[in-house]
């Protein structure tokens, strides 16, 4: 039981961190913010799903994807397709030349629902699709890439190009996808109006619960043997391979998990904001999502949530008061995080704040009298203390080596 607890919550410290986050999401925010701000927080938290996925892929797996927006978008689109079909009942669309199909299809002279839209009449199918479609897509991309041992920078550039292709396709095929406008004017979910304040509260809490769930899943993965393998692989891929492990399937797995998490975020986004558009699929949002993870600390699942919250709050605040300053700040943030704080907020916490808290706790316990829990801590693989040492130095050194060795394989 104790072992399972440690695995899931990352020991006592992890549990406290999680509890603080949960309290923040479920108690403090709803009490301090009105529904308008809370809805915004809910929107930011949907980006946190992507950031958590990136922590797994990038922080632990060493796979930097610049196309997470694709999965966020695909998940969101699957949800939006269901909602759009529900709001396009023959009665509500009777002014169209073909009633019963979404309005944008009618404008594009489609006279029947395209075949791939048909199954989205069913909620259960749509919910499965939210997860399955991005997952299959991620699976195809990652198998093709990782089996051929494409990695590092190459993978980043190729995911970026795929995101570009998907954007052009969605915009170009506007009769089937709603084009650049996206799928808008979503109203009800099985007759339940998602635009009311009450619905927004419900969705916010659902979103929070799913997010905590994703963090727990992430914890499970990184505390398992797989997590250790991921770290090993990130730092010395060749050695892991020579030890007889099939490196590429681990990478495929963690990439698919990251994609699924992003997709859940996308679906929750659609539900809370009421539309989905191709502007989330492209390169710019995808890279912005990486910065959420980087600000929070690329090795910290909880940090990713704070990263997403803080960057987005800053964005809203600065674009309201100093629009011209915002891009400077955002750009500066990228540079500062990379050059000064490679471990983000989590790194600042472990190197500056945590030692003081520890000292304070020890002081209260009556000095030097170590309780058994304390020495157990550093052995815990998720402990930020281990995280602090690894990523910037060792990890990237091996990445650099990985790239340079790329051409020499042939």
């Amino acid at each position: 039981m104790q072992v399972a607890m440690n695995k899931l919550f990352g020991g006592r410290e992890g549990l406290v961190g999680l509890a603080i986050l949960a309290a923040l999401i479920f108690i403090i925010m709803p009490l301090t913010f009105d529904i308008f701000r809370l809805n915004l927080v809910g929107k930011y938290l949907t980006y946190a799903f992507v950031a958590i996925g990136l922590v797994l892929c990038w922080g632990y797996g060493g796979i930097l994807s610049l196309g997470q927006g694709m999965f966020f978008g695909l998940g969101g689109y699957c949800m939006a397709m269901f909602l759009k079909l529900e709001s396009s009942s023959p009665e509500s669309t009777k002014i169209q030349s073909t009633p019963g199909i979404p309005d944008f299809m009618d404008w594009n002279q489609l006279t029947a629902l395209p075949w791939f839209w048909e199954p989205f009449h069913s909620l259960s199918f749509s919910l499965v699709a939210v997860i399955a479609v991005p997952c299959i897509f991620a699976f195809i991309i990652s198998v093709a890439m990782f089996k051929r041992r494409v990695g590092g920078v190459y993978f980043a550039i190729i995911t970026q190009a795929i995101a570009l292709i998907l954007t052009i396709l969605i915009i170009g095929q506007q009769g089937y996808t709603g084009g650049i406008n996206g799928i808008t004017d979503l109203r009800t979910l099985k007759g339940w109006d998602i635009r009311t304040d009450e619905a927004k509260y419900v969705l916010y809490f659902l979103n929070g619960a799913l997010l905590i769930g994703c963090i727990l899943v992430g914890r499970l993965i990184i505390t398992s043997k797989l997590g250790r393998l991921l770290l090993a692989m990130r730092d010395r891929e060749d050695r892991v391979r020579f030890s007889g492990y099939d490196v590429s399937s681990f990478k495929v797995f963690v990439f698919c998990v990251g994609a699924m998490m992003s997709a859940i975020g996308g679906a929750m986004f659609t539900l809370q904001v009421g539309f989905m558009s191709p502007s989330f699929v492209g390169i710019v949002p995808s890279i912005e999502m990486v910065i959420f993870a980087a600000v929070g600390g690329r090795m910290s699942l909880i940090g990713a949530v704070y990263g997403a919250l803080i960057v987005n709050f800053a964005k809203t605040f600065f674009s309201e008061s100093f629009p011209a300053l915002w891009l400077f700040l955002m750009g500066g943030l990228f540079i500062a995080v990379v050059m000064l704080f490679p471990n983000g907020l989590a790194g600042i916490y472990t190197s500056y704040i945590k030692p003081r808290i520890d000292a304070w706790i020890q002081g209260r316990r009556g000095g030097g009298n170590l309780t058994p829990t304390v020495p157990a801590e550093p052995q815990d693989p998720v402990s930020p203390r281990t995280a602090e040492r690894t990523p910037a130095s060792a990890a990237s050194r091996s990445l650099a080596a990985g790239i340079q060795s790329e051409p020499s394989r042939s």
């Binding site: 084009g179 109203r187 635009r195």
Partner: protein
């Protein structure tokens, strides 16, 4: 750099004092003092209105890719509001602006629209530019019963109780232009070119129907390029091969410049290959360069060089406020119409309540607007004339054709 901007703003504010004097001349609209109409009576829905002020929102992109296009609209809307304030405001109340940045990002537009309506309780919002941003905010406005004045010419197929469309819908802009081309240029074969998104695609659909069913011409090609494309070599070759009587274009943004420069360089001058566009205004020509568009035709409701008394006043006031070298395009002028149409509707309704303003709007007429007579239809679009302008080297147009006043028809029968 940021501070430089600030300094420039301060300068502009000084110029404004001069502008206010000029705008007094515009006082064709009567003003009612606040004393006769207490706030409780003109505002029954809890909008941000006091006895002396009324808050409105301006919602455009001032950052991101769309900032290029939307700046003009912001300037025009601010000008109109300043002029209204200088005349004593609206129902005796000064207008206060809350400006929000949509950052060229549609969800941000929706977020800011929500903020303006729910937090700031503004009486009206002037804003949005792209169709995508309008589609994103539309549910917000309908849900919160807000009021939006939307300035851009657009693809039509929309009619909302909460939105007034001060630009042209597609049929107003396209049909008159094509009729003119068929009659005056004798065009029988057409080549349709556009950027790849909803407005060009819908516009081309309407154009194709009109060409095939009404003008009995043929469409020899229809092409779309991704937004931001800068390479049109292959397309130009195709046009050369097909030799259409008229190229009908709706290429937007940065692509525009590349498109015209390359057309010119490939020897397709507009004398050899007539071309009519629905996407080029004075704003675009500033970037493209007058020498690259000499002889091109544009179909618009407004050009800066329109010789009308209302336009002269508008252009003077705009240049005094925003600098003598500023140019005014169709969308900028539509932005200017918004606050004035709102003023008329509010004064007709004697109330700021959205429902009453909306009810009072249809039928409002404006004889000497910058582009002449206009009238608000009950479908919330405007009756107006369409002009064909031929571009000159100096970046202005010579008007070669002016239509009658056209009824707006956002859901054109037979064109869908």
């Amino acid at each position: 750099m940021y501070f430089l901007d600030k300094a420039r703003d301060a300068l502009k504010r000084k110029r404004l004092v001069a502008a206010l004097g000029a705008s007094m001349l515009l006082g064709a609209v009567s003003t009612v003092s606040a004393a006769t109409l207490p706030t409780a009576q003109v505002n029954t829905t809890g909008l941000a209105i006091t006895d002396s002020t009324v808050k409105v929102g301006i919602l455009h992109s001032t950052t991101g890719t769309m900032a290029i296009s939307e700046t003009g609209s912001v300037e025009a809307e601010k000008l109109a509001i300043d002029q209204i304030n200088a005349m004593g405001g609206i129902l005796g109340r000064k207008i206060e602006i809350i400006q929000e940045d949509g950052a060229s990002d549609w969800p941000t537009f929706a977020e800011k629209a929500k903020k303006l309506l729910e937090k700031d309780q503004v009486a009206a919002v002037f804003g949005c530019w792209t169709s995508a941003s309008r589609k994103a905010v539309l549910p917000v406005f309908e849900n919160d019963n807000g009021l939006l004045y939307y300035p851009t010419f657009y693809e039509g197929l929309e009619e909302s109780k909460n939105v007034f469309y001060t630009g042209q819908e597609a049929t107003q802009q396209i049909l008159a232009g094509l009729d003119w081309a068929s009659k005056e240029l004798g065009a029988k074969t057409f080549y349709l070119v556009g950027s790849d998104y909803i407005w060009p695609r819908t516009s081309m659909k309407i154009a194709r129907k009109h060409i095939e069913n009404v003008l009995k011409g043929t469409v020899v090609g229809e092409e779309y390029y991704p937004l931001g494309s800068t390479q049109f070599g292959s397309l130009i070759n195709k046009i050369k091969l097909k030799k259409p009587d008229l190229v009908f274009g709706a290429v937007v943004g940065g692509s525009n410049v590349a498109w015209f420069k390359q057309l010119n360089a490939a020897g397709l001058t507009f004398k050899k290959q007539p071309m009519l566009t629905i996407s080029v205004t004075e704003d675009e020509v500033l970037g493209i360069g007058g020498e690259n568009v000499e002889g091109l035709y544009s179909s618009m409701m407004y050009f800066q060089s329109l010789d009308l008394p209302g336009n002269k006043k508008f252009v003077d006031a705009f240049k005094t406020k925003w600098g003598a070298d500023s140019v005014i395009g169709d969308v900028t002028e539509s932005g200017y119409l918004g606050p004035w149409l709102w003023l008329r509707a509010v004064e007709a309704a004697k109330s700021f309540d959205v429902d009453k303003v909306v009810a009072a709007s249809p039928g409002i007429e404006w004889e000497d607007s910058p582009h002449g007579y206009l009238k608000v239809d009950k479908n919330h679009h405007l009756w107006m004339k369409t002009r064909i302008g031929e571009w000159q080297k100096d970046g202005q147009v010579k008007i070669v054709y002016e239509s009658d006043v056209i009824k707006p028809d956002p859901f054109p029968a037979g064109y869908q």
